[in-house]
Symmetry: D2
Subunit: 314 residues, 4 copies
């Protein structure tokens, strides 16, 4: 078995970078263009806080859908599992039937899971606070605590772009209002959701989220920020639903919890073993980073991280 | 942490048995009636072949949908991963949209995964052999090898019942013929599928299938029957899709690969740790054993088996 | 064959009124309650302007979905057939798959037809004017011209209720913005749509709309307000799609163009023969007036109005 | 207004023939190939039995889906309206959601209408007779009576081709068996359906079916074969649903009941005015004859046949 080292990681990066050619940069995001196509950065942190970095690990991008797992953690902390899953389901689905049709499906009184947009918006509607600024502050504080990065903040241009391109999400949110899934102010839930997606992060920030999950909710100072059982829930849902319509593919080919964003972000979390953060903007037609996906598949294989294997790293 | 013992298992059984009241026995199966409602049997086998039994562990029932993982293993062995997943997908779905609608969904040129009926029938159409008897013989031999039980056989009454009640599966199969997913004889694929579901098994037989997966494809004599990487694939698909429309729920609440059948069967497999077999005929409206489901949730918690936890049994 | 007379109409009313018991009054509408359940008013006007009235013909109610045919006429006048049907289809559908799912259906780049809410909102987005007040003025002027009733106006309480209960329509509208079906201001299109539904009308007003269609777009003074070919289009779409999910039933049982609203309104139009207006607030689960529906079925039969018959009134 | 004459019809044919270029010949039908692309034949018969013919009016082709209206008439005669519409609905739908998905739609306990394949197969399952030969004899006798053509018969090659290519229809039929919509032998219903589609007809035969409907069920000798009210039902359903996914388009552009088949057949029926038969094999992607469709649109306009017009031919 390969041993994790910075040198290994640098080689893995070079092996994976060519897969960028199979994807394209999401031009809907401000400042994103083809010059970013070959970017690939990775950071891995182990439970003893050893850090391995390679490639464009300093590249900051909007966190996009990786925000969904942060929102879910915060809602679980605020309300507990029972209440949260009255608002959103936990069954995998992808967007095969497009998320709005699934909201109308017979017997579906709520979004299928917190990893699809409808589910994440309903989760955002739960997050406590006096107003949207206050609610976002709580999100940001939580995220800074997890990542130990007090500099994290929202990018105004990205936020405005989210609003401007938000018609589909607005449609989902009003649909959920019409069915009673969202009972708070719809525009405020959307506003919060757009802000959450607009926080800028680099590979190390993402890796620290993965590590937080891998360590079971204990922050670097040894404080339990979130009970471990809530994080088991988050990791299970990441494995079944975290990679859009390719979640099943990644469950098979990678075999540990991951969450991706259309900015080319991936958070990976191997329970008890490591947190992984990847930034590589070229994405495939399902929304997953192509070079980033190739890299985590390689890491899983080389470092024996697949949870369904008999003997993994542990 | 609780230690696994026969005494513990007997107590766990009694704790779980009352959940039978929340389910009902599948009267469509021959000889199944309300007198079976309270039955609950379990067997657990560890990689060193220690066996723990409790309750109605001698009760034989048709294996029903637990056959889907056997069929998948055999197809992977016969054709390899690439070919098999040209015929069937690996994305989770459940039957939320009923399996026949999903076959018509835009862009779906094949069943979503091998755990839904359409996927399992397409897998059955792949299994090699001169004729249906020969193909079923291969299935049965493989199953006997895995379980070390040469007595395993199909029940004729169950098989005839499967045929008589097979209209929906026949509809699925002809639909797949019409789209080119099934290219072999449809009636023969259905016949094989009905036979596969009709093999009678008890909790120990089911546990041995779980153990075979947990040990990575090595039979009791140390021979590799199926490469370990194929079994990682099977286990990942069980975790995302093995428990019908409650697969996500079981991923969260149990956290290791399981597959259920409407006869009240459950196969559980904790990689490197144990195989679990359960028989408890009262099922819920999703098709999963109620007492059986309660039992594996309890086992996961008490024995620390959840793969998404920081420290599991390993 | 029965001859149309006021006496006949009064008898027909009494025969039909008991069908109110099969329906219920739409409590979502302001001032609507069970005391209105037995109301049944009808007015019939022939091309030579003979008027027949019976029952509660003076009862004013919000026109609700009968506005859809007025909006369609105005859009056809403003833009012509080709442009209008680039924005909305002309295929019957009902809401069997709920209107938002149909917007996502493969190949559906626009709402199925102008009689479903999504289609009517997209039509409203087309109607010309500087602002929403001006656009609504044009609608109201057109409606007053057709009905020769200068008193027609919007009810403020109904309008506010439409806004307050508009989440589903808002969801539809934003969905259409996200797909490019609506290219003008969404909130303005919705505002106009809500106003259109809130105009108060009685049976005679509704009958005059039916007569306008039946006379091919010629107003009482002999002026052509809308070309006859546009009205043929409107009548054909009413016949295939005007009665919600029971449009096919009414095509068979009534056999001439009708449009209903959930306030219990029905506009009937027998080309060249008569316009019919009905108000009867008790509606069935599809949204059609029960007593009103019974009445137009009786009229069709007694007065030989079914267009699919060999010899109708003409 | 243009007067109907053979000369007019010959000119109309030549105007319409170029539209064949927009379609293609259905190569799935035996003997159908590109040499048939330009064929266009029409026959019109008025209630006084004046016959007008033009173009390839002698060309025989399989009647295909035009059989659906014959089957519906026979079932109405055998069982009456109430019983027939317990088995099949009367709401328009097309195949927008593909016919098998619509069978699974919430609340749809039966096919939407008799013009989609599922509906026609369920209708075939109703037709009385000791066995399939006997049932088909009744169908053929009825068809010969209507058309006054004792030579009509099934083509064996077409019938065999229907069986060989029948997987989708078989899937639909078994689906309906699984839901209890079809309670008789599925294979026999399919066999009858395949035979029904395989009867060879020319434009005059088709025109006589249209005339039979237009005359309200009275055969040339003045006998009432089918009550007029049953034929009103058939004509209404043809108007809303007879032209596949373009039924709404034809309701608007033609405005009288039509039924098409993928062999390029069209039956038109203007109540009280005429029957029209068209054969023109090049079909569009919805299944309707392109040149044939152009021709009936032209006939409707030139001869003032649109039922939604103020003054039609009557």
């Amino acid at each position: 078995m390969t041993k994790l080292s910075t040198q290994y990681l640098e080689e893995a990066i070079e092996d994976s970078r060519p897969f960028a050619a199979n994807g394209s940069v999401n031009a809907a995001l401000p400042t994103f263009d083809d010059t970013m196509k070959e970017l690939l950065g990775v950071t891995i942190i182990t439970p003893d806080f050893k850090i391995y970095r390679a490639g464009d690990y300093n590249q900051y991008v909007p966190m996009q859908s990786t925000s969904k797992i942060i929102g879910l953690m915060l809602a679980l902390e605020d309300f507990g599992k029972e209440r949260v899953f009255q608002t959103v389901g936990m069954e995998p689905m992808g967007d095969f039937f497009n998320s709005i049709s699934t909201l109308e499906a017979p017997g579906s009184d709520k979004p299928f899971n917190p990893m699809i947009n409808a589910g994440a918006i309903s989760i955002a509607s739960l997050i406590k606070g006096q107003n949207v600024e206050n609610r976002f502050d709580r999100y940001l504080t939580f995220l800074r605590d997890i990542t130990e990065n007090d500099e994290l903040q929202m990018d105004e241009t990205v936020y405005k772009s989210e609003i401007a391109n938000g018609a589909r999400n607005r449609s989902l949110a009003y649909f959920m209002q019409s069915t009673g899934t969202i009972v708070t102010d719809v525009e405020e839930a959307l506003d919060l959701y757009f802000r959450m997606n607009s926080v800028m992060m680099c590979a190390e920030d993402l890796a620290r989220v993965g590590l937080f999950l891998a360590r079971g909710g204990i922050d670097p100072d040894g404080n339990t920020l979130i009970p471990a059982h809530h994080l088991r829930t988050v990791k299970a849902i990441m494995l079944t639903s975290g990679m859009y319509n390719a979640s099943g593919h990644y469950a098979v080919e990678v075999g540990f919890p991951c969450k991706s964003g259309v900015s080319g972000t991936i958070i990976g979390s191997v329970p008890g073993v490591m947190g992984i953060g990847v930034v590589a903007p070229a994405i495939d037609d399902k929304g997953n980073s192509t070079a980033g996906g190739a890299l985590i598949k390689k890491l899983s294989k080389d470092l024996n991280l697949n949870m369904f294997g008999i003997e993994n790293t542990r």
